[in-house]
């Protein structure tokens, strides 16, 4: 049990590191949202599960936090993505833009 929990903790830490690195290295906002959301969600799952395996009586509370993060993280990133699209439009290197017809084009506001 202890081994499982420690392995999960290290995995969680690694994915948090990956999330930070992804936010730092990706070239535009949407890719940063993608890297940050995916990596930190899995990192939080692994880390919290590791804690839950170490102390089984905490499992319910850990479960509530996991459920909350699983629902809230994608919603938050979708709100941010829509807001960034409205604020600065599509980045210059997109190959296809179906969102333009839905949200309307963006004139340059600077």
């Amino acid at each position: 049990m202890e081994i499982v929990s420690q392995v999960l903790l290290v995995i969680g830490g690694l994915f948090f590191l990956l999330g930070g690195l992804g936010v730092l290295r990706m070239p535009d906002v949407f890719n940063r949202i993608q890297a940050g959301t995916k990596a930190t969600t899995l990192g939080a799952f692994a880390l919290l599960l590791g804690i839950g395996f170490m102390y089984p009586t905490w499992f319910l509370k850990v479960g509530i936090i996991i459920v909350f993060i699983a629902i809230s993280n994608p919603i938050g990133s979708s709100v941010l993505a829509k807001a960034s699209y409205k604020a600065q439009g599509a980045p210059s290197n997109v190959v296809q833009d179906d969102l333009k017809e839905f949200l309307g084009g963006t004139e340059d506001v600077g």
Partner: protein
């Protein structure tokens, strides 16, 4: 029926927050208090939040836990290795775009679950849902039309979610 659903959601979140620490007597006190609080809040809130539930709910929950979650977690792990591959390669390989996906799912919570799953799977990020269209930012554009994209991105989730949320 909506009162039962709201009550269950509130009571379960209260019990989850309390957790399993403490003696049996303490747990019983918490259970009584949680029931009272949830009952009061249920009558105030049931009209604001439309949770629904029906007699087939336990079956759906089982399908959700044992069929959907493994698929989802596997996709999440793959997504993270995808992110890792992109982040760690010296020149980041990108072919980004905003695409539209058609979905056949009815019901708001089904579409929400699908959109959340799309965000957490490899290379995609759902931005908005409009009727039966989901707008998605993808790192690697493969197909042109909504149907092709559906096959690439969301088909495996839709099959399962169609069973869970009728």
């Amino acid at each position: 029926m909506k009162y039962v659903a709201t009550f269950l959601v509130l009571l379960l979140s209260y019990l989850g927050l309390v957790g399993l620490v403490g003696s049996t007597e303490q747990f019983l006190q918490e259970l009584v208090l949680g029931t009272v609080v949830s009952l009061v809040l249920t009558f105030i809130l049931a009209n604001y939040v439309n949770y629904t539930i029906d007699y087939k709910f336990p079956v759906r929950l089982l399908v959700f836990v044992f069929a959907y979650i493994p698929v989802f977690v596997w996709a999440l792990i793959l997504a993270n290795f995808d992110v890792a591959r992109r982040v760690l390669s010296p020149k980041i390989p990108l072919n980004p775009g905003f695409v539209k996906i058609k979905t056949d799912l009815e019901g708001d919570f089904a579409k929400l679950t699908l959109a959340n799953s799309i965000t957490l799977t490899p290379g995609t990020l759902s931005i908005d849902v409009d009727g039966n269209d989901i707008y998605v930012h993808t790192v690697d554009v493969k197909g042109k039309t909504p149907e092709e994209n559906k096959k690439n991105i969301s088909a495996r989730f839709e099959k399962l979610l169609g069973v869970i949320f009728k």
